[in-house]
Every structure is written in structure tokens, then in C-alpha cells.
């Protein structure tokens, strides 16, 4: 972890150079580790067809449930498919699903929260009661109920996750808008006659941004776990697809074939750790006052 390296290109866009310079000398290891791990997984997702030694779906019944070897790095599953290749291809299912869920949840939830916080009064009261109600459900149970109602499949699971997730961002953005909106520069903009939507979009929201970026990053990890969990249960991706959670489910009853469930789990663990490190690193970078210790 060379201390001389500028950690990432993001600070310019997000927190301003001054913040980056302050964070830099202390060495933001979490950000670096997170960026490397997440970057590597994104690369895997893009280049899976080039990297995978074998097809992720072709059956090979002669080589069922082979233990890890040089030929099959992580062994083979009950249909003789190469688990290593399936994990590489799996990155193309789980990671984009989680990214999509959080991106949409951030946008929709953020918009609702921004309107509630800025408008105040009745609008705020009504919107926040809706948020409270959705947050009263344990997320996995509500997601399960919605997926069951819509019908099985990854697409429906994704929609269910968005429906469950957006209120978290509403609550956060609303709070941020209230804090930022109380600043004098917002009052000044209003006094100058800037229309309300411009004040919100150009003056309030950009300053409310940092905690939202941090939460989004951390939540991508949680969304990966929830995607895998729904597939594990049998509500998400369908069997031949190399989704990590579904792959773990395939190893559920086969204790003697430990590799079937172990390696997809390690894939989830590593990518989620990556996003968590990235989120913690961004937290330190964007808000030095909150830095722990």
C-alpha cells in the first residue's frame, strides 16, 4: 500500500480536492483494498468468457462431483460443470443485479426523500409514514412475499428488492436535505429568487451527496447477499444459471462434496468485503470528521 498513490479518481467529483488532500497523508487502506477487490471482480464480470477455462453450463456427466484438481480448480458440480468457470460467469449475474437494485433504489428513494425534506409539512408527513410502513417489514420476508406474488425468477426478485430497499434512501436523503437546507447559502439562493426545484437540484442535493454515496456502496454488498439468499431459497435465478446463491443451494445436501457450496460462498464473501471496504474508505475520504478512532 504505497502511501504516495492517489487512491482513486472519484474524490474530484465527490468531495473536492481539499478533502482528498486531508485524507491522503493518513493512508486510506480501506479505500485502496476495496477499490482493488471490487475492480478485480468487475473485470472478471466483463471478461468472464475470456477468463473461464470451461463452459459454465455444458454438462459433463462423466466428471460429476470431481474434487478440486488442476483440471477443475474448484471441482465440478452434480452435472459435471466446472465450478471455477461458473463462479466467474456468476459475477455477471449477481453483481449487475445488486448494482441495478441499489442504483434504482437510490434514485427513487432519494427523489422521494428529497421532495419530502424540501417540501416539508403534509407532503413530508405522508411520504415518511409510507417509508415507515415499508421499513417495518423484515426486508427478506417482504422481498420473499413480493417475489412469490409476482412469480419466481431473478427479474421479479430484483423488482422485489427495489420495492423493499428504496425507503432506506428516502429516510437518509430527507435527513440530509433538512440539514443542508438549513444552511445560509440555501436561504441566500432562495432570497435571490432561484426557483425551488433549482435550489433543490443545484444547491441542496450536491451537498447532501456524500453519505448517500457511502450508503449506496455499502448496500451493494448487502444487495449481493440478498440476491444470493433469494436464489438460495429458490426464488431468484433458475438452476442452470450460475448464480452464486443457487450454486450454494446445490451443495446443501452434499456434505461429502464440500467444494460445491464452499467456493461460491467465498466468492460472495470476497466481493461483499470489497464493497464494504470501499464504502468505509469513501466514508473516511468524504467525511474526515467521522473517521473512527
Amino acid at each position: 500500500m504505497a502511501d504516495g498513490a492517489q487512491p482513486l479518481a472519484v474524490p474530484g467529483a465527490l468531495g473536492g480536492l481539499a478533502v482528498a488532500r486531508k485524507a491522503w497523508p493518513r493512508g486510506n487502506t480501506a479505500l485502496l483494498v476495496g477499490a482493488v477487490v471490487v475492480g478485480a471482480w468487475l473485470l472478471v464480470a466483463v471478461a468472464a468468457p475470456l477468463l473461464a477455462p470451461q463452459s459454465p453450463v455444458d454438462l459433463d456427466v462423466m466428471n460429476r462431483l470431481e474434487p478440486p484438481s488442476l483440471q477443475h480448480l474448484f471441482g465440478t458440480d452434480e452435472a459435471g460443470r466446472d465450478i471455477f468457470s461458473r463462479i466467474l460467469y456468476g459475477a455477471r449475474i449477481t453483481i449487475p443485479t445488486a448494482l441495478g437494485v441499489i442504483a434504482i433504489a437510490t434514485l427513487v428513494g432519494g427523489a422521494v426523500g428529497a421532495v419530502a425534506g424540501y417540501a416539508g409539512g403534509r407532503v413530508d408527513e405522508v411520504l415518511m409514514r409510507v417509508v415507515d410502513v415499508v421499513l417495518a417489514f423484515p426486508s427478506i420476508l417482504l422481498a420473499m412475499a413480493i417475489t412469490a406474488a409476482l412469480g419466481l425468477g431473478l427479474r421479479h426478485a430484483m423488482l422485489a428488492m427495489i420495492l423493499v430497499w428504496w425507503p432506506e434512501f428516502s429516510r437518509l436523503v430527507r435527513g440530509q436535505v433538512l440539514v443542508v437546507g438549513a444552511n445560509d447559502f440555501v436561504l441566500a439562493a432562495r432570497a435571490l429568487g432561484v426557483p425551488a426545484h433549482r435550489v433543490l437540484l443545484c444547491h441542496v442535493l450536491p451537498n447532501a451527496f456524500p453519505p448517500v454515496v457511502v450508503k449506496s456502496t455499502l448496500d451493494i454488498g448487502n444487495a449481493i447477499i440478498l440476491t444470493a439468499a433469494l436464489s438460495f431459497i429458490g426464488l431468484g435465478a433458475v438452476p442452470p444459471d450460475p448464480e452464486w446463491g443457487a450454486m450454494i443451494a446445490a451443495g446443501r445436501t452434499k456434505f461429502e462434496y464440500w467444494w460445491v457450496a464452499t467456493f461460491p460462498g467465498l466468492a460472495i464473501l470476497s466481493v461483499v468485503l470489497g464493497f464494504n471496504f470501499l464504502g468505509d474508505g469513501l466514508q473516511d475520504l468524504l467525511n474526515p470528521r467521522l473517521r473512527r478512532d
Binding site: A136, F137, T147, G151, F232, T262
Partner: protein, 338 residues
């Protein structure tokens, strides 16, 4: 002042409960497929007379607002509908399965406190030293590992390889459940005086409780650590030290007592994630609680059952929050004002 606060809290909780019923109703109406296709045979769905009878029985021939009123009345009467798979009232199913979930969750909370609090204390006392790093790694890895995977690994290691614990399930297969008094096997087996049964139940509980406990242990350890660090910097701790008290007394008797308040609050507020974890832990360990009931229901598209579980957990959540809020308001006058 206190009365206004209580009234506002109660109204908000009532609004939230009403909202929960609305959400459940909306989800039930999201079903794109023919709802009758789930309950009727293919033959029967084509018969207009049978269709009409069923539409009438469930009020599907009435307008949506009318249907909602009917649904709300039923829910208020405790009628959550009938499960498609068990063919029993959902509420009866829930009553049968909920004790197993409570048993597991309480055991997991105990595990997380037994391991998490000492770890957090160690991390705070030996700040930035080895214990602190261990605590950090534990909570990082705990938060990043899917619990259904941790559960499988635990079963593989402790049941299959080491043979220290029994496999999935709540009891050894040759044993039968004790006569139901409370629904909690640990209690009922003791009441029936069957020690073998009790031992078997405890042995089966250990591994799932460890797995679920590990899942929330990180949160407990982290909260203990930061709360204790804060308290250790307080003046009264310095006074205690200045009086010449030993470090053990200062930390254990003076500091930890105050530091545990936020720990208990945070743990209470993580009730939802405990339940989420229980859903998957129960699935992996074939634990007959409401989590596994919900999973079976959802994969069979038995939405009255899954909605019943979802609604009941939401109601519990709102009630717990209400109680916590009220206690806070009564104990701390500052909160009432804001």
C-alpha cells in the same frame, strides 16, 4: 406533555399498522396470475359455476375498496386466511411454528452477548492492539458472509467432519416432541421430566444458535467497543482510577454498566436483522420455525401464508418499537419535547 407524546406515538403506531395491512393487501393483489388457478384444479378453473362460487366466497366479485374492507375486517378478527399448502388457518400455523423461532432467536442473542460483549470490551481496553484487530475482522467477516453459507460450513465442519453436534432438525429423529404446554421444546421437555429429550433439544440448538449468534455478534462487539471507549474517557472513570481502583473494577463495575445501555438498545433495534437471519438459518438447519414456514410458503407461491408471516413480524416490530419509544419517553424527559 407526556400524554401528548404518548398519544402521538400511539397514533403513529396505529397508522403504521394500518399501512402494513395496506401493503399486504397490495402485494396479494400484485399476483398477475389467476388467483383461482392456485387453489382450483385445472378442470375446475374452466367451469364458470365453480369459478363464480369461489369468486363469491373470497369476495373477488366485489370492487377493490370493498375487498379491502373485507380483508381489513378479517385481519382485525385475527383471520389471516388459509394456507394453500397446509390447508389450515395461517394464524394456527404461525402459533405452532413461532415458539421454535423465539427459542432459536433467544439462544442466538445469548450467544452474541456471551461472545460479543467480552470481545468488544477487549477491543476497547486493548485499543488498536491484537484483540481490537480480531474484533474488527470478526465483525467485518460476519457482516460480509451470507448466513446460509456460514450455516452450511458449520454443519460440514461440526456435524460431518468432527461429529461434535447432531445434524439439522430440532430433535434426534427417534425422539418425539413432548406434549405441548408452551411450545418451547426446552421448557416442555423439562415439564414432562424427560431429560433425554431435553439434552437432545439442547444439542440440536447449539449449532444454529452459534451461527445466528455469530451473525449479530459483530454488531454487539462493535457497539460495546465504541460505547466503552466513550465511557472510559469520562470524568467519573478518571476519578475511579484516581482513587486507586484496579483496572478490572473500573472497567467491569463502573464503565461497562453504563456502556451496556446503548448495546442493549442497538441489539433491540437489530431485531429485524435477527429475524432475517433466522429465516435463512432455519432453512439450512431444517428448524421448524416461522422462517422456514415462510420459505416453504414462498417457493410454493402460498401467498396467504407468506403474507401472514410477513404481517405478523411487521406487527411485532412496530409493537417493539412503540414499547421502546414509550419507555424512552417516560425515562428521558428530553425526548418528549422534540
Amino acid at each position: 406533555m407526556l400524554l401528548t407524546y404518548l398519544a402521538r406515538r400511539l397514533v403513529l403506531a396505529a397508522v403504521a399498522l394500518f399501512g402494513v395491512v395496506v401493503v399486504a393487501f397490495l402485494v396479494a393483489h400484485m399476483v398477475p396470475a389467476d388467483p383461482l388457478a392456485v387453489v382450483l384444479s385445472e378442470q375446475a378453473t374452466k367451469d364458470p359455476a365453480i369459478r363464480e362460487a369461489y369468486m363469491k366466497r373470497w369476495g373477488l366479485d366485489r370492487s377493490v375498496p370493498e375487498q379491502f374492507v373485507a380483508y381489513l375486517t378479517n385481519v382485525l378478527r385475527g383471520d389471516l386466511g388459509e394456507s394453500f399448502t397446509t390447508r389450515r388457518p395461517v394464524l394456527r400455523d404461525l402459533q405452532q411454528f413461532i415458539p421454535a423461532t423465539i427459542e432459536l432467536s433467544l439462544a442466538a442473542l445469548l450467544v452474541s452477548a456471551l461472545f460479543g460483549v467480552p470481545l468488544g470490551v477487549g477491543a476497547a481496553v486493548r485499543h488498536n492492539r491484537a484483540v481490537d484487530h480480531v474484533a474488527r475482522i470478526v465483525s467485518l467477516v460476519g457482516a460480509a458472509s451470507p448466513i446460509f453459507w456460514t450455516g452450511l460450513l458449520a454443519l460440514y465442519l461440526f456435524y460431518y467432519v468432527l461429529e461434535w453436534t447432531p445434524g439439522p432438525g430440532r430433535l434426534d429423529t427417534h425422539l418425539t416432541l413432548p406434549p405441548v404446554v408452551t411450545g418451547f421444546v426446552l421448557v416442555d421437555s423439562l415439564l414432562s421430566g424427560d431429560l433425554e429429550l431435553f439434552r437432545s433439544a439442547v444439542r440440536h440448538l447449539v449449532l444454529p444458535a452459534l451461527v445466528l449468534g455469530w451473525f449479530i455478534m459483530g454488531i454487539v462487539a462493535r457497539t460495546t467497543r465504541s460505547a466503552l471507549l466513550e465511557v472510559l474517557a469520562a470524568d467519573y472513570v478518571r476519578t475511579a482510577r484516581a482513587k486507586g481502583l484496579g483496572e478490572g473494577v473500573v472497567v467491569g463495575l463502573h464503565a461497562l454498566r453504563n456502556a451496556l445501555i446503548p448495546v442493549i438498545t442497538v441489539t433491540g433495534l437489530n431485531f429485524a436483522s435477527l429475524l432475517s437471519g433466522a429465516v435463512l438459518t432455519e432453512t439450512v438447519f431444517a428448524w421448524p420455525g416461522i422462517g422456514r414456514y415462510a420459505v416453504t410458503a414462498s417457493t410454493r407461491l402460498d401467498y396467504p401464508a407468506i403474507l401472514g408471516v410477513t404481517m405478523v413480524t411487521a406487527v411485532i416490530y412496530i409493537t417493539v418499537n412503540l414499547v421502546v419509544d414509550i419507555l424512552y419517553g417516560v425515562l428521558d424527559p428530553r425526548i418528549r419535547v422534540s
